[in-house]
């Protein structure tokens, strides 16, 4: 009972904090558009994030990835991911998605017990109950909150005003500690190795965006916004699709205006 009270208090704090922060969210955006009024500041943060990656995350993840066997790295990442179970369940309920709430609850219980504090993932492996990650940013989207401006956050990387609010709420109102005593300790032990493992496993893709492209800021922004919008809607939106045939003609018109 006490835990439920605590949980609902966390949720209320979260909802309140998000209302306050969202009041600051700027400009409505059209689907498919990039709304980046803070671009010059974001680019400064991007340069600093990239420098941090170059001197720290990239080399350290290479050492970690090559020194630690894959099953060990995978287990630590599993344990870290398992800790988002209570947050997922709480947000599924806030989104009115009872099916996913049940799915994530069963998944969390199976992996925490049979999976030894989440080190293994029998829920996916043996029961077909795959990961369905969510968070308060998704809840805000379901509630109809607009995406807001694009942001690149120090260390956390690409985000939007809405996603940044979600991230803050997930951090301060995480129900984890109230339902799972060992949770915070496991989080402390596994979140860093988990980040390194992702950086190692996705090395080609991340390096391609950050170091091989002519404008890594623009590429990262596009990748983030498009994949985020896709994840939230479950499909590419028709308005979002770029029609090169239509636009080829538009460019012809623009050309005529220039010339006369």
């Amino acid at each position: 009972m006490g835990q439920i009270v605590q949980l609902s208090r966390d949720v209320r704090i979260g909802a309140f904090a998000s209302l306050v922060l969202l009041a600051a969210c700027s400009a409505p955006n059209e689907p498919g558009e990039i709304n980046d009024p803070y671009e010059s500041l974001n680019r400064v943060v991007h340069a600093s994030n990239k420098a941090t990656d170059r001197v720290f995350f990239r080399p350290v993840s290479q050492v970690y990835g090559n020194a630690v066997p894959k099953p060990v790295r995978q287990s630590l990442s599993n344990a870290s991911a398992n800790l988002s179970g209570p947050r997922n369940v709480a947000n599924d309920f806030l989104q009115g998605n009872v099916e996913d709430a049940g799915h994530n609850l069963v998944r969390f219980l199976l992996n925490t017990t049979l999976g030894v504090f989440g080190l293994f993932d029998p829920a996916s492996g043996s029961f077909g109950i795959e990961e369905r990650d969510t968070g308060f940013a998704d809840t805000l989207a379901v509630w109809g909150t607009r995406e807001g401006a694009y942001l690149e956050l120090p260390l956390f990387g690409p985000s939007t005003e809405r996603d940044a609010v979600g991230l803050v709420v997930d951090l301060i109102a995480n129900p984890l500690g109230t339902v799972f005593d060992e949770g915070p300790d496991i989080a402390a032990a596994t979140s860093f190795p988990s980040v390194l493992n992702s950086r190692f496993e996705l090395a080609d893709t991340v390096d391609g965006i950050l170091y091989d492209s002519a404008d890594s800021y623009a590429q990262l922004r596009l990748f983030y916004l498009e994949s985020r919008r896709f994840a939230l809607s479950g499909q590419t939106s028709a308005e979002n699709a770029f029609d090169p045939y239509e636009n080829l003609y538009e460019e012809v018109y623009e050309g005529l205006y220039d010339e006369f």
């Binding site: 498009e226 029609d243 090169p244």
Partner: protein, 201 residues
Amino acid sequence: MMNSDFTRRKMLAGTAALALVAAAPQAFALSAGQAQQLIGQAVSEINRAINSGQSGSSLYRTFEGIFRKYADVPTIARSALGPPARSASKKQLSDFTNAFAAYMSRKYGKRFRDFAGGKVEVTGSRAVKSFQEVSAVAKIPGQSPFAVSFMVSDRSGSSKFFDLLIEGISLLKSERAEIGAMLDKRGGNIDALVSDLNKAG
């Protein structure tokens, strides 16, 4: 002043009419079934290439062949180049298109190489605006399946795909941003872009 305004409008109307006439015979001719069949063929060729055991430049050449056969390469290249395409000479455009096709095959061929042992399956299609979106799922051993979709149009005169989206990320938009940035860095010099593109990817 009046006169130039009149000329401009006439030109605009003329161009619009031409565009309509050019598009009319093919308009809405592309069915979901045709689009799905086209992508089904493309995907089976991609699957064969991924699992062919080829590597390096011979694999990239195979991908370039598939890309040229199933994608509307001239339109994708022109769109990636953006407004500068209209002031480019014919030779510059064709050089760029060739360099772009090879660059795309290397760049994405590298990624496809990681898909060895996997396959792409077409799952369905739907009409979007004036074209068809054919959706597929890529299943790679040891990875969660991910969504791939192809945007197919017959506006070029034959059915071709003009965009490929992986988990919602548009290859066309990504290359428009990338080629745009490369061109900016070279002060808008298309010849310099073409020669650097031959080394990139």
